[in-house]
Structures are given as C-alpha cells and as structure tokens.
C-alpha cells in the first residue's frame, strides 16, 4: 500500500535512499594488523598505521576484500575486478592521517538488488547503487574532561562497507524493511554482525518529497548516523513532514546534512551545502589499484550460503508455508535451520506454528538466543511427534512445552514423569462422563430438553475430572452419545 502524506495542498510521496555503513567481520583492520574486537580498553588496538605515524603505510587486508566480494555477490551485484582506493581528505582529531582511505570513482562492487518482503506477502526490489570499502575513523570522547576531548583510536582503520541504495524506497516502513533485510543478508554471509547498538551497522538516510504522481526528484537532505531501525523510521517521517511544511509554506529545501535527535524525535541542521567539506578525493598513491582474480570471485560465489530469498522460496515450495511465515522463519539463518530440523520428516505447518509461536515466545521470555535455545530442536520435534500421534492434546502440549523450557528435559520423559499422557482409553473417558452426569442430573435433563450450549459445560467438567488428559475428540464424541442416549 502506498505511503502517502497528506498536506494542505495535496498528497505527497517520500523518496528515500539509504547509505548503510556495515563493519566488516575480520580479525584485523582494513590496512593494518591491529585487532578489531568491540569493547576493548581505549587505544589498546592501535597500530602505528592506525595512529598515522610518519612513514607508516597501509597494506590491504585480503580477508576484508573477500568479505566485500562476498557481500557484493550476496546482493546480486556486479563485482569490479579492478577498483581503486582514494583518499578522502578532512581534518578531525579522531582522523589520525588527515584522510580516510575509501573508494570513490571505482568501488569494488557495482549495481545490485535487494528484495524487501512487504507485510502483505508481496516483495519489492530495491536497487543497490554500489558497495565500497573504507576505513573507519577513531572516536572522540567529549565527556571525559571539562575542557579536553579524548580520542580513542580503536576503531581507527576498522574496515567498513558502505552500501548505497538507489532512491527506490517510498516509506519509513520500506526503509526499515530494507535495513532489516540487508542486516539479515549480511549475517547470513557472515560479513557483518549487524549490531546497530554497538555501531557495527550505521545508517544515513537521504530523504526528499514530491507531490504524489510527480516524477522529478526534489532536493534531498541527508540524515547522518542513525543507529536503529526505529529511529531511522522516525527520522524519515519527521524529515518528510518538515519538507512538506516548508514547500506548502512556499519555501524551498536546502541540500544539507542533518542529525536526528532521538530524544526530541526531530532532525536538525548539521552543515549546509555551502559549508560542506571539499574532500579533495584522489587515488591513494600508497596503494596500487585493487585487482581481483576472477577465480577468487568464483570460489567465493561457489561457497555462498543459501540466502534468505532462496530459502524463503524453498520453504514455501518444500514445506508449503505461506510467504509471511516463510519470511519470518528465514529472516535469521539460525532460526531457519532450527525450523528445518524441527520440520524434518514432520508436519511442517505444525512445526512452523510451534517454532514461531511458543518457541519464539520462550526465546523472548527467557532472553536466550537461538544458538543457546531453552528447548532444543530435537526436543521440539519430539513434542510435535507426540501431538501428531495423539499422545498429547494441544493444550497438554503447551503444558509440556512450558515444563521443557523450565527443566530442559525432553517431552517424552516429562509426559511419563508427570503423567500427562492424553487419555484415549474409551472406558476411562466413559466412566468420567458417567460420574459427571450422575452428579448433575438436572443439567442432563436440560440438555435433553434442547439446551445444547450446556454441552460445553460438560466437556469442561469431564476435562477437569481427567486433569485435562482426556482426548478432546473422543470426549466430544462419547459425551454426545451419552447425553443424547
């Protein structure tokens, strides 16, 4: 459904392009051997290269290059066998060299596509403009001393992939789905951990608006460094409404860089185009053009995992899941694998319901992760088997599942231990029915007089008498026979 903002003069459409900075998973930095682990003591992971010492030279980290290629292939993008590192020059205290080594005219990855899954089950292809490798800057700490700023260079030189989308996104929701999908793909590929809180994934949004139906692009503003999907969506919505207000008041939008203040929920100007940096990009003379061996690209391509889109297709085909369920299950590689081991040889829809329902609920409730689940896939599979063979009713199964979460035991052992097995013995159920009927002759009479809705009351009473273990199907059948009898 189209996202339309209503203004005083009419309907408006929002146009969004995203630049996502994704920290490459690698042990060492892009151009130095220093470590990249998050949360280390300040300035404990800094080589002389990262600190911009005299005479120090960058040497490209092959692993980071492979990760960029892997990501490019995952985005179905063109891999540029020759790319060039360029220097982006600007002065800042946490930029030791006085320039950032990035890629400008010739990035390592060209155009590609990312498919987002919309809530109605449909999909939309979003163009990828490019992906390039660059080094991160350090961090300025302004709150450690009343008059001084401190510098932590642990991040300085860490490899980032800047992934730039085409202006194909049309709503905050689509922008959020794009980031979520990109994160999912990066995690599948093992090229970025996608952790926005730790800053390993950051997002800049280019936002403009235009009257509904217009085809021209209006002036955009860039909102820098948004670090959560929720904030991204808030920032876009705020920015779009701001543009509309300005236009409807007869004003014009100036191209500028803005910051999102998450506390106030608004964006504010950081620097205008007139004050934009002149980065004086030029090819880094310390580095030769990066030339890739096509065989290396082929090897990486051959080793790619099954990615979310393909997996979703397969889940729909192989397991008969609908697009929405399949989309939910494949969003995370480990969840998808968990589902598959539960579903293997079983009713896939039942398995999917249990994984997405009680199991995901238990993950949230226990705060545990799919890699350290409260219930193993094997145990959940056994539980599904016990439902399927009639040992457990749905209600009993939920009870058993709760016990599984609590104890970590398998369902068979718990059923045995707690005596939770569903009663399918006709005689036992009949005895219970008869006892309830004997105790409530008036109600039996009422039913026989036509008051059918009392049947439910009887079902409840018999279930209560059997501690819920009576097979519901058999109970209904026997009860109907007896009452009518």
């Amino acid at each position: 459904m189209a996202y339309i903002l209503q203004g005083d003069t009419g309907d408006w459409e929002v146009v969004i392009g995203l630049e996502v900075h994704a920290q490459v998973i690698s042990n060492a930095k892009l151009f130095s051997g220093a470590a990249t682990a998050f949360g280390a003591e300040p300035n404990s992971q800094v080589s002389f290269v990262d600190a911009g010492f005299p005479g120090m030279l960058p040497v490209i980290n092959r692993i980071c290059v492979e990760q960029a290629v892997r990501t490019g292939l995952g985005l179905k993008a063109r891999i540029n066998l020759t790319s060039v590192f360029a220097r982006k020059n600007y002065f800042y205290a946490d930029l030791p060299q006085g320039y950032q080594i990035s890629q400008y005219e010739l990035p390592i990855v060209g155009e590609g596509t990312l498919t987002i899954d919309l809530p109605d089950g449909s999909t939309k292809a979003i163009g990828i403009e490019r992906l390039h490798l660059e080094q991160d800057a350090g961090k300025s700490l302004h709150d450690q001393h009343p008059t001084k700023s401190f510098i932590d260079l642990n991040r300085s030189g860490v490899a980032l992939m800047e992934i730039v989308s085409k202006p194909d996104l049309r709503s905050p929701e689509e922008a959020g789905l794009y980031v979520a999908k990109l994160r999912s793909i990066l995690r599948y590929l093992g090229t970025c951990d996608g952790n926005m809180q730790e800053g390993s994934m950051r997002c800049d949004a280019n936002v403009s608006v235009r009257p509904k139906g217009a085809s021209e692009l209006r002036t955009r503003c860039e909102i820098k460094n948004v670090n959560s999907i929720r904030f991204l969506q808030q920032a876009i919505e705020y920015e779009a409404r701001r543009h509309i207000e300005v236009y409807e008041a007869g004003g014009s939008i100036n191209q500028e860089t803005r910051l999102f203040d998450s506390a106030k929920g608004e964006t504010r100007s950081m620097r205008s185009k007139e004050h934009a940096h002149d980065y004086r990009y030029f090819p880094d003379p310390d580095l030769l053009p990066l030339v890739l061996d096509p065989k290396m690209v082929e090897t990486i391509k051959a080793g790619l995992p099954e990615l979310p889109d393909e997996k979703k297709e397969r889940f729909m085909g192989e397991y008969g899941l609908n697009a929405t369920d399949a989309g939910v299950l494949v969003a995370d590689q480990a969840s998808a694998a968990f589902f598959e081991s539960v579903a293997k040889g079983r009713d896939p829809k039942l398995a999917a319901n249990w994984v997405m329902g009680d199991f995901f609920g238990a993950l949230n409730a226990t705060g545990r992760t799919i890699d350290d689940p409260p219930v193993t896939a094997a145990h959940l599979g056994e539980l599904v088997d016990l439902i399927k063979d009639g040992t457990l009713s749905g209600r009993l199964a939920k009870e058993v599942f709760a016990l599984m979460v609590e104890t970590g035991k398998g369902p068979a052992a718990l059923v045995e231990e707690k005596g939770l097995k569903q009663v399918t013995d006709t005689g036992a159920i009949e005895t219970a029915i008869e006892a309830v009927m004997a105790a409530n002759p008036d109600k039996v009479a009422e039913i026989r007089a036509g008051k059918d809705k009392l049947i439910g009351w009887f079902v409840g009473q018999v279930m209560k008498a059997t501690q819920g273990k009576a097979n519901p199907g058999m109970l209904n059948e026997l009860l109907a026979k007896k009452l009518k009898g």
Binding site: F48, Q97, Y99, F282
Partner: protein
C-alpha cells in the same frame, strides 16, 4: 698512516676483512671528522657514541665470522628515515621531539648488513627543496668552494644536501638519500659524488617520512659507483609492508660493473639541450658522449617530446600528494602542538608554527589542485601528462639501452641565491624530474669541474629495474672521467689530486 675517512667502501671492506683495520677505528675516524666539520651543518643529530657501540658489535660479529655485506661501514642516514630510538625530524619543527619507536625498512636492511650509523643528516624540510636551505635546522654548506670566491658559502643541493655534503667532506663513507624529483642526483652533482635513485619500488618506503608517495624513492650516495652499487644492494628488496614495493629479487649490482659497454646504445635526448643551457654543462655532456663512444657504445639521438611539461606536471602531482601526506601533522598525537581554544585554532597555530614557507607553499598548491572544480584541470590532467612522459621513455628504450643527460643545469650556487621566486629554484630539477615521474632509475656521477672549480654531474637513466645497466655504464664513465678532485677542506686528497696533475679538471 692513511686517513681512514678517505677510503672507499670497497677498500674499507677489503681492509676490514683482512683485519688491517677495525670497525671501531674506522668509525672513530669518521666521528672525529663529524665533530671537526660540524660547521657544514650536515647533521641534525650526531650519534657518535651509538656509532662506536655499533662498531664494537660489528667487530665482534666479524670475529665470530658473521660479517654482513657492509660490516663496520660508517654511514650517514638522511633524517627522513625513521630510526628506532633516535630522534627523527624531517628537518621540520612540526616533528619537534619525535623519536620513532620503529626503524625504517631501508635502514633496518643496512643495519642487518652490518653498517654503522653516524647520525641523522640534514635535508630540506620534508625533502622539499633543491638547495638544502629550507631545513628548520639551518642550511647545509657545500664543502666545495668556487675558485672565484672561495669565501662564499655554496649550497650542497637538495633535498639530500646533508647526505651529499657529509660524503663529499669525508665524514661518512656513504649515506642514504631520498629522491622525489632529483633529491639524490642534484646534490650528488653539486657535491661531486655518485648517487642513484633506483626504480620506484626497488627500495621500501616503509618508515620513510612521506613527501610525495608516488615519487619518493630511497637510494644511496657515495664516492664511487661501486660503493653505490654495494649500498643499494643492501638497501633494496621487496617489503610486504609497502604495497608499492616491487616483488623482485635484488641483483648483485656490483657484479654488473663489468667495464664492458661495447655495442650498447646510449640515448641522447635532444630536449635536454634547450636554448640557454650553460656551455659548461653542454660541454661536459659532450665529453661524456665521447667517453661512451671510446668505450664502444653508440650514442643515438632520441626525442622525449613531453619533457617540457615535466616540471609543471611534477609541481602539481608532488604538492597534491604532499598536501595529503602532511595532514597527519596536526599536533594531536606527536610532534609540535601549539594550543588553541578550539580544535581548528590548535590546527592552525600548530601547522603555522611547525611548517616552513616552502612546505606551506606546497601544501597550499596541493590543496588547490585537488579542490572541487580544479581537480580535472590540474591533478587529473597532470596524471595524464605523467603517463605521456613515461611513454616517451618507453618509446626511447625501444631503441636505446640507457640515456645520458646532464644532472643539473648548473654547478652549486651560493646560499641565498635563486631564492627570488620559487620557480627559479624548482628549475634546478628540470633534468631529474622526468625520470622521477616515469619511475625510472637515474644515477648521477661526477664528470668534471666547472671553470670555477665546482663539480658537474652527468645523469644516466635506465629501463625500469635495470639498475645493472646503469651501474655498468656509470662504471665505465667513472673510469673515463677519472674524477679524483675533492673539496679543499679534504686536505690529503687535495694534495694527491694536485700531485696527480689535476686529473678530472679542466672542462
């Protein structure tokens, strides 16, 4: 007793090997010369104690039979090479107090070969200059004096002026230099010594304070071609820490000095004989051509049509790279810091106080040519022209094996001369810059003296990574030139030269 400071490296190696002298004796002779000739201002940092310590260790290694190729040879190190534990300045105030915790690859290679370091040699600030007058530590004086005005202080050339002066004045047996547009070859020419800028990529740039990364190249300076060959052999080699370092084995350069250049074709580029070229320089060039003919080589006139664009091209490319390379000197992490109320103010004050006029000029030019709106007109165009200049050489080397040109348009001039406008100074490198832009090896050797008694050098240019042919031809020319002249301050050689009938003079 022979003055040990007059030995060539080749002779010293022989005598050390025979046990006739020790590294300590050899080093002491040089540390004494260093102290005696302090007036030249060739050194920024003298490390005589360290040198004698290293010499003692060298003697001990030799005693154990572990002598390297330069075992016990005292050298000077241009103060652009980072040296672990020894102050490194780049002749700039901006690096005030900086002592590197690491050793450049080239100096580490020399140490590994057993060489002894006497200290850190003066240079133009950040290697930007052709007269060694831009150093924060004052100008270097050329040990040579002109006949017409013996009292006049002359420049040693630059930027490796301290290196050239120290080698010419017999303070060091050899020295490291760096050459971006002529910084080894022009001072070698001005001081009457040999210097080679090898092919770009032959020596690692790791640990050398950068000026213009695509042009900077380390090389040796010494008093003979063979000494340079020995030094380069120790300095060169692939270094995985420098992505532009060539993954090639290092040949035995000294072994290339066969003395046989029969049948070799030597290119004589007509563009290097512009109107207004000094008669003296033209004559010594012609003399060099004669020597090569006598040795059985064939001079071939060639054309390098883009030569005239080399200087402007260089003065776009080099400042562009320098403006970026020198951005790291910001007062934040090391070196000079002049406090300011804001970060920007600290930057401005620090860099204004830390950089001299020539460095500031080049940073400004470089910043300008890379700016939005000017990039295509200047930097991008300069890169295209640079390729054309390299193509000129490629074409020439289809028909010749080596190229002979003058090294510099003049002999050494006075300290303070040629400073009216920067371009006059820049013109000093007009013959060396094209080679730098093309990344080719270029060697300067002393060919004779000017009428005023000052050395004049000739330049040999080779194919990429063909330093061997350059050395081979240089060896033959060296023999023909029989250049035994030495500065007046180097008394014994002076006496010997005069008794030998002034060989090498009278161009």
């Amino acid at each position: 007793m022979t003055n040990l400071t007059h030995l060539t490296i080749t002779e010293a190696r022989r005598r050390l090997a025979k046990g006739e002298i020790t590294a300590v004796e050899l080093t002491r002779a040089h540390t004494e010369a260093m102290a005696a000739k302090r007036g030249l201002n060739a050194f920024i940092t003298e490390t005589p104690d360290l040198a004698l310590e290293q010499a003692a260790l060298s003697d001990a290694r030799r005693a154990k039979g572990e002598a390297g190729s330069l075992e016990g040879i005292p050298l000077g190190i241009k103060d652009l090479f980072c040296t672990e534990g020894v102050r490194t300045t780049a002749a700039s105030r901006i690096l005030d107090g900086f002592t590197p915790p690491y050793e450049s690859t080239v100096t580490a290679n020399l140490k590994r070969a057993g060489a002894v370091s006497l200290g850190k040699l003066n240079l133009d600030e950040f290697a930007m200059g052709s007269a060694n007058i831009t150093s924060h530590f004052g100008p270097v004086e050329n040990p040579w004096k002109s006949k017409s005005d013996p009292a006049k202080k002359l420049v040693p050339g630059g930027s490796s002026g301290g290196s050239a002066a120290a080698v010419a004045a017999r303070i060091a047996m050899g020295a490291t230099g760096t050459d971006t547009g002529g910084s080894i070859r022009q001072p070698a020419s001005f001081c009457g010594i040999v210097g080679i800028k090898p092919t770009y990529g032959r020596c690692s740039r790791w640990g050398i304070v950068a000026f213009a990364s695509s042009l900077d190249q380390a090389g040796p300076m010494a008093r003979t071609v063979e000494d340079c060959a020995l030094l380069l052999g120790a300095m060169a080699g692939h270094d995985p820490l420098d992505s532009t370092s060539a993954p090639l084995p290092v040949p035995d350069f000294a072994a290339a000095l066969t003395g046989d250049i029969r049948g070799l074709k030597v290119g004589i580029p007509k563009e290097y004989r512009p109107d207004g070229l000094s008669d003296e320089v033209a004559r010594i060039w012609d003399l060099g051509i004669e020597w090569l003919k006598d040795a059985g080589a064939t001079p071939v006139e060639i054309s390098l049509p883009y030569t005239k664009y080399a200087l402007p091209t260089y003065y776009i490319v080099a400042p562009a790279e320098c403006s970026s390379n020198l951005a790291r000197y910001d007062g934040v992490r090391y070196g000079l810091r002049v406090e300011g109320k804001t970060l920007d103010e600290m930057y401005k004050k620090t860099r204004a106080a830390g950089f001299g006029a020539e460095v500031r000029r080049r940073i400004l030019i470089g910043t300008y040519v890379l700016s939005a709106g000017y990039y295509d007109a200047y930097y991008a165009k300069a890169q295209k022209v640079r390729r054309l200049i390299a193509d000129d050489f490629n074409n020439a080397f289809k028909s010749v094996d080596v190229i002979l040109t003058p090294t510099a348009p003049s002999a050494a001039f006075g300290i303070g001369d040629n400073t009216d406008d920067p371009v006059t100074m820049w013109l000093n490198d007009v013959f060396t810059i094209p080679t730098s832009l093309a990344g080719l090896p270029g060697l300067s050797l002393p060919a004779g003296l000017s009428a005023d008694g000052l050395p004049l050098g000739l330049q040999l240019i080779g194919r990429p990574f063909d330093e061997e042919t350059v050395f081979r031809v240089a060896g033959v020319m060296e023999k023909a030139a029989a250049f035994t002249a030495a500065p007046a301050c180097v008394a014994p050689t002076q006496a010997r030269r005069e008794s030998a009938g002034e060989a090498g003079e009278g161009v």
